[in-house]
């Protein structure tokens, strides 16, 4: 059995986003904030979004944690900016499947996010990769509450 190599986990793209996180900023009011916390390591991420109608017109994040969690936050904000809430939700589902489903075939329009596919081989790190996505899910559910769709 081939051993998982370190650079399969830490793809250049991931290290690049860790080095220079994108969208690490606040967005204009009114905004909705979602939070993710990993009790295993104390890592935390807050994601905020400004909506134009149903579209996440601006998305930013803040947080502290390992390279995987922070790069995931950075790449997630890039991926969902300009998408509708429903498209963002679909992306959350696809990303989560990539992390947890051994039969996952990368065909769900994940694009650059496929860089995280190697994380699935490191079960203890899956939570690092999904942290930002949990925060986004939290954000979308709060928006539902705000709009009374709950």
């Amino acid at each position: 059995m081939p051993e998982p190599e370190l650079d399969e986990l830490y793809k250049d793209l991931i290290l690049d986003h860790y080095r220079r996180p994108r969208n690490r900023h606040s967005v204009a009011e009114p905004k909705i904030v979602g939070e993710g916390f990993n009790p295993l390591c104390g890592d935390e991420i807050a994601v905020e979004a400004h909506f134009d109608g149903d579209v996440l017109s601006d998305v930013g994040f803040e947080g502290r944690g390992c390279s995987i969690s922070q790069a995931s936050g950075s790449m997630m904000t890039e991926a969902v900016k300009g998408k509708t809430a429903a498209e963002a939700k679909a992306l959350i589902d696809a990303f989560t499947r990539m992390m947890t489903d051994p039969d996952f075939q990368p065909s769900d329009g994940l694009g650059d996010l496929e860089a995280f596919a190697g994380v699935a081989k490191y079960p203890v790190r899956v939570k690092c990769a999904t942290l930002a996505w949990h925060a986004l899910l939290d954000l979308l559910s709060r928006r539902g509450e705000v709009q009374g769709e709950g």
Binding site: P4, E5, Y10, L15, C41, G42, C66, I68
Partner: protein, 415 residues
């Protein structure tokens, strides 16, 4: 004469490889590996005399009962408890502390009482007291640490007439700090307070004598001291136990039961409701035999040598921050560290790929992490089978990881 190479032969797991590299197991503060004698004791129990204890009249049950009670005697001797009835088997150190919080704390702690803890406690010696304090209206107070992670003298002022209990670790699982338990116990007793010692690390790594410590409770667990998981110990003073009602009730802990009422069994049976973890308790006895065969003084000396070496070698790597006392003679064999702003989880994953097992995270001591101003640290921790070469491998691994993450670390440090 102690020979680490001979000791290593007793631990089958040390032969295995991880990711194609020889295993370098440096996560002993989380759990230790098990010698063949312990594994054999488990197999022998299931193959030869598996039976329930304290009830059967048949041979197997008598054999199992006598081996189970022999293990209790081994524990008594190991910590120099005055009597066997002071040794209660639980599932782990956490359960031992909870037993005190529930069975003793709820009867003895009142509104306005103070429970004195330290900022370096493991969650298992913090959360049960938070729960108790909320229920009873007692107040928690915390002894702080200095910049090297040594306990400050605050406790001299903090322990007073209001103090009901002082609960502290004898050896920090993060900083390695060894606390002056006896001195603290003396002051606590002057004020009529009880003293609970979390011995999860200390009992596994140094000679511990409950009469010398003069503690009222001592909690520790088998799996950190070469024994199986699933067995903990609560030592408690006899007169305190006699006055305590059980936390769990059911079989074995009773004396006489009618439909309406029950009288409790003698101690320690009163606190061991239901069928206990017979096999693992007996194998724990084998672990104590093994440790006594080496000698706890020898274990302590070996720990100190490795720790001094690790502090020296890791301390020489630029970018490495070490936590806890620099003097190995006042600390245990757990060395917490960070490398630059590289997250300990990234470091841990990288080291694992080189076959090195360390712990990375908050070590179940989040308030201590906050006190140190970090969210997490890496931690290397040693036991009797570790050797200096493994610390060299760790040091190379850290530098290898530093190279791998390279400018990702420095770029962020600059930012």
């Amino acid at each position: 004469m102690f020979d680490v190479e001979l000791v290593r032969r007793d631990f089958p797991i040390l032969q295995r490889t991880v990711h194609g590299k020889p295993l370098v197991y440096l996560d002993n503060a989380a759990t230790s590996q098990k010698p063949l004698a312990v594994i054999d004791a488990l197999v022998e129990y299931y193959e030869r005399y598996n039976a329930n204890i304290h009830r059967g009249l048949h041979t197997l049950s008598e054999e199992a009962t006598s081996r189970y009670e022999e293990a209790r005697e081994k524990v008594r001797r190991f910590i120099n408890a005055p009597g066997r009835e002071s040794v209660i088997f639980t599932r782990n150190a956490t359960e031992s502390i909870n037993l005190v919080a529930y069975a003793w704390g709820r009867a003895k702690v009142r509104v306005g009482d103070e429970i004195v803890l330290t900022v370096m406690e493991h969650h298992s010696n913090l959360v049960p007291w938070q729960v108790l304090a909320k229920e009873t209206g007692a107040r928690l107070r915390f002894v702080d640490i200095d910049d090297e992670g040594r306990l400050r003298d605050d406790w001299r002022e903090m322990i007073g007439e209001k103090t009901r209990l002082v609960a502290l670790t004898q050896m920090s699982n993060v900083l390695g700090t060894i606390n002056p338990v006896r001195e603290i116990a003396d002051l606590a007793h002057q004020h009529g307070a009880a003293v609970l010692v979390d011995g999860a690390q200390s009992v596994a790594h140094m000679p511990v004598d409950v009469q010398e410590l003069d503690c009222d409770f001592l909690a520790f667990s088998s799996h950190k001291m070469l024994g199986p998981t699933g067995v903990g110990v609560l030592y408690a003073r006899r007169r305190i136990l006699e006055d305590m009602t059980p936390m769990l009730s059911g079989g074995h802990m009773i004396s006489k039961v009618s439909l309406e009422d029950t009288t409790w069994n003698e101690i320690p049976s009163r606190f061991e409701a239901g069928t206990p973890n017979i096999a693992d308790v007996i194998a724990f006895g084998a672990a104590i035999d093994y440790l006594e065969g080496i000698g706890m003084e020898v274990v302590r000396r070996h720990d100190m040598e490795l720790t001094a070496y690790a502090l020296d070698v890791l301390g020489q790597i630029p970018g490495v921050a070490l936590y806890g006392p620099r003097d190995a003679s006042i600390r245990g064999a757990a060395v917490a560290f960070n490398y630059g702003d590289l997250h300990p989880h990234d470091l841990g994953t990288a080291l694992d790929s080189y076959g090195i097992a360390i712990r990375a995270g908050h070590h179940c001591a989040q308030p201590l992490m906050t006190r140190l101003g970090v969210t997490a640290t890496a931690r290397a921790s040693f036991h009797i089978y570790n050797r200096r070469e493994e610390i060299d491998v760790l040091a190379e691994g850290i530098q290898e990881a530093a190279k791998f993450f390279g400018d990702a670390i420095s770029a962020r440090t600059r930012a």
